[in-house]
């Protein structure tokens, strides 16, 4: 592959917020002592009066965001996925989800690509947690272009949205003139006939790489980018499954409860086919450089390819 530009989606989140801040006065950003890491610091610099640091108190931050939303503000509450979806789960469910308040949750540092901080900070459960909340939109963008589009779409959407971003710089794969982001609409990135790889987040670029390797061996893989885990684009996935007869899911998240589960739930209703779920296999992560971890946990292009080869 030729050298591609790499940007962490948390950077995209920060940039998109700063841009949107100019357009919308009702947009406010909350953080819990991680503005530097979640990249909301960019927004803070431009709009200090609309940036609210809640201190290390994520549960309170979610409640404050809820209160702000009742008065017409559009809060983006930011923290690491571990604390936004994990620690503050019940606040998100009861104070934001149940009253269906217009709060956006910007969760950075998701998955094992957090790297050196290790298992305590590597959230592989957030998609599972968030998608069980009625009315919650769950978005996991694959690159900078998609992440910035997702933040904009989240602002335009009326109701709670969970946005998942990463710490690791990932290849920009959607930089093309016809790219279009719509909540709930999957994107077919590559047509194929032998199997379908449904991927999300940073695994989308890995899935494309795996498809390329498979093509070299005469295996034709369709690749679908599912940036919205909920609502899931069931029609697109089912139509592809009916065509290829085999589905692989790929995500930087536990194989329990995330994209893999969501796809299986959808397919068992309309197009039951064998499914291989690639993800973090019901285990905690560990410390190490992000790229090395993705290799070890077989979530990079090679790892996805190897697992598919073993399964076929």
């Amino acid at each position: 592959m030729s050298e591609v530009k790499k940007i962490a989606t948390r950077e995209s989140y920060g940039k998109a917020l700063a841009e949107l801040g100019h357009e919308h006065e009702d947009l406010v950003v909350l953080d819990a002592d991680l503005a530097g890491a979640t990249k909301t610091g960019t927004f803070k610099k431009e709009f200090p009066e609309r940036h609210i640091d809640c201190g290390i108190a994520e549960c309170d931050m979610m409640g404050i965001a809820a209160g702000l939303a009742t008065t017409g503000k559009v809060p983006f509450a930011s923290s690491f996925a571990m604390f936004a979806a994990g620690r503050a789960f019940e606040q998100v469910r009861n104070s934001i989800g149940y009253p269906h308040l217009n709060v956006k949750i910007g969760a950075t540092h998701a998955g094992i690509s957090v790297g050196e901080d290790g298992a305590t900070h590597q959230c592989n459960e957030d998609l599972a947690l968030m998608r069980t909340i009625p009315g919650m939109v769950v978005i996991n963008p694959s690159d900078d272009v998609e992440a910035r589009a997702a933040v904009r779409a989240a602002y335009e959407h009326e109701g709670p949205v969970y946005l998942r971003f990463g710490r690791l710089a990932v290849p920009v794969i959607n930089d093309r003139p016809d790219y279009h982001f719509e909540i709930g609409k999957g994107i077919t990135l590559r047509e194929g006939t032998d199997l379908t790889i449904v991927a999300t987040g940073l695994c989308v670029s890995g899935a494309l790489e795996a498809a390329e390797k498979l093509a070299a061996e005469g295996v034709s893989a369709e690749v679908i980018n599912i940036h919205t885990i909920k609502p899931l684009d069931k029609e697109l996935i089912a139509a592809s499954a009916k065509k290829t007869g085999k589905v692989v899911t790929a995500e930087e998240h536990s194989v329990i409860g995330g994209l893999g589960s969501a796809v299986c739930e959808a397919l068992c209703e309309s197009a039951p086919v064998p499914v291989l779920r690639i993800g973090v296999k019901d285990t905690f992560g560990e410390s190490g450089p992000a790229a090395a971890l993705l290799t070890k946990y077989q979530l990079d292009g090679q790892g996805i390819y190897d697992q598919i080869k073993a399964w076929l």
């Binding site: 406010v28 009066e49 609309r50 609210i52 809640c54 201190g55 108190a57 549960c59 309170d60 931050m61 979610m62 409640g63 404050i64 965001a65 809820a66 209160g67 702000l68 939303a69 009742t70 008065t71 017409g72 503000k73 809060p75 019940e90 606040q91 009861n94 104070s95 149940y98 009253p99 269906h100």
Partner: protein, 279 residues
């Protein structure tokens, strides 16, 4: 309203509590009754609200952080005109807008859904912060249980409110002294409550009898004068206040009266009402 009118209204609010909980065969009468005078004072005297305009962006807000005392909240909202008093017996019934805990999407006048303890105060802080950010002069009130303040989130919210000097926020603690498992001092003592809020940079007002309208009036008058810091009103109350057999009994935290007990409770309140009419 003058004190006597407020007392009479609080007694009607209490009847609504007993009616709702009896009809639901479930619910939380004890903490609803201890806070009935507070509910009444807020909605009939203190707050700038209009039942005809429940979504007015400039209205004062109330968050019932101790959401299980919804029967008291619903009763005061009904008596204030947000919805018919006749709705109160539908409490906790399937299809009713009166859910077991307050739901802002269902019930007119409810400013925030609540019920999971410790969460309402954060939402109230968010509302108060929003007013400051938008140069609006509405005030925000939130009622917490004295058991509820065992939740850590309460202190996260208090720290933030003190730090941000939210002088448009009034946190009220219903210090009836009892929680489900017994006396709050025995279960896991939150005392001293006043010193804790002081340490979190609140102006603290201790109310010796939170079931006394004149004392409530004095406290809220003082709270309005406070500038540069939020106010905490710690009010001593009697759990189950007004119903003879429920007063100071933890077992009436979350239990409904049977038909016989209902008759006794309503008779107790009728007596109170008659005595007030003699004044």
């Amino acid at each position: 309203m003058n004190t006597l009118e407020l007392q009479k209204m609080a007694n009607e609010v209490r009847k609504g509590i007993i009616t709702g909980v009896h009809s639901a065969k479930a619910g939380h009468p004890g903490g609803s009754l201890s806070a009935a005078d507070l509910f009444t004072y807020l909605y009939f005297e203190e707050m700038n609200i209009d039942p005809e305009k429940p979504d007015d962006p400039d209205r004062d807000r109330f968050v019932l952080s101790k959401g299980h005392t919804a029967p008291g909240y619903y009763s005061v909202l009904a008596h204030r005109g947000y919805f018919p008093v006749e709705d109160l017996p539908t409490l906790r019934h399937i299809g009713s807008h009166l859910q077991g805990h307050p739901c802002m999407q269902h019930t007119p006048g409810v400013d925030m859904s609540s019920g999971s303890l410790g969460q309402g105060i954060s939402a109230a802080v968010g509302m108060a912060l929003s007013a400051k950010m938008s140069d609006k002069d509405y005030r925000v009130y939130t009622l917490l249980g004295d058991g509820e303040i065992q939740e850590g989130q309460v202190w996260e919210a208090a720290m933030f409110a003190g730090h941000r000097k939210l002088d448009n926020l009034v946190v009220i603690v219903d210090n009836n002294g009892l929680q489900i498992d017994g006396n709050i001092a025995d279960v896991c003592s939150p005392y001293p409550i006043d010193k804790k809020f002081e340490a979190f940079n609140f102006h603290v007002i201790n109310v010796a009898d939170g079931n006394d309208m004149d004392q409530l009036r004095a406290a809220f008058k003082e709270a309005r004068e406070v500038k540069g810091m939020p106010t905490a009103i710690i009010m001593k109350t009697v759990k189950g206040k007004g119903v003879s057999f429920m007063e100071n009994k933890a077992e009436w935290h979350g239990a409904a009266p049977n038909d016989e007990q209902y008759a006794v409770a309503m008779a107790d309140l009728e007596k109170v009402g008659e005595a007030l009419c003699q004044k």
